[in-house]
Symmetry: C2
Subunit: 65 residues, 2 copies
Amino acid sequence: MKNLVKVERARLDMTQAELAKELGVSRQTIHAIEKDKFNPSVTLALKMGRLFNLPVEELFIIDED
Amino acid sequence: MKNLVKVERARLDMTQAELAKELGVSRQTIHAIEKDKFNPSVTLALKMGRLFNLPVEELFIIDED
DNA sequence: TAAAAATGTAAAGTTTTATTTACTTTTATA
DNA sequence: TATAAAAGTAAATAAAACTTTACATTTTTA
């Protein structure tokens, strides 16, 4: 799984800490997601999609099957 | 959070066990998701969306903010 | 209507997400 | 080029997803 969180965060000119606060998670969670350390919940993915104005399918891309 | 998994599963005429196998999870996981017992990973949500031919945003709906 | 299949429920255990704290390194700015 | 802000890393902990097993209840079908 890869994702566009870092890029979209840059588009909004937000720091990891700002994004974390906005989404109600810790900065480490944002960092870990950006570094593909884990697989967030669908709720968090939906919130991110809403904030970035991007469908979950475009924000998070499964490598293959 | 609510979701349309039970409805979409019915549309495909699949049992919980069949869906679980198709998605590579246990039947209890499907059951728990259908009963809103938990918040699946974005990966599982994406796989479900692909199978049901439905965007994650339509399959999983956050109650409010 | 009896048997089988599907679903509901529950509990114990494992794995992974997420938090907290703390410190280092990199990048931006005064 | 110092200083501050942001990002990277790491470890210990908490919380939640997910598995496994097992059995009860409901629904389907022979």
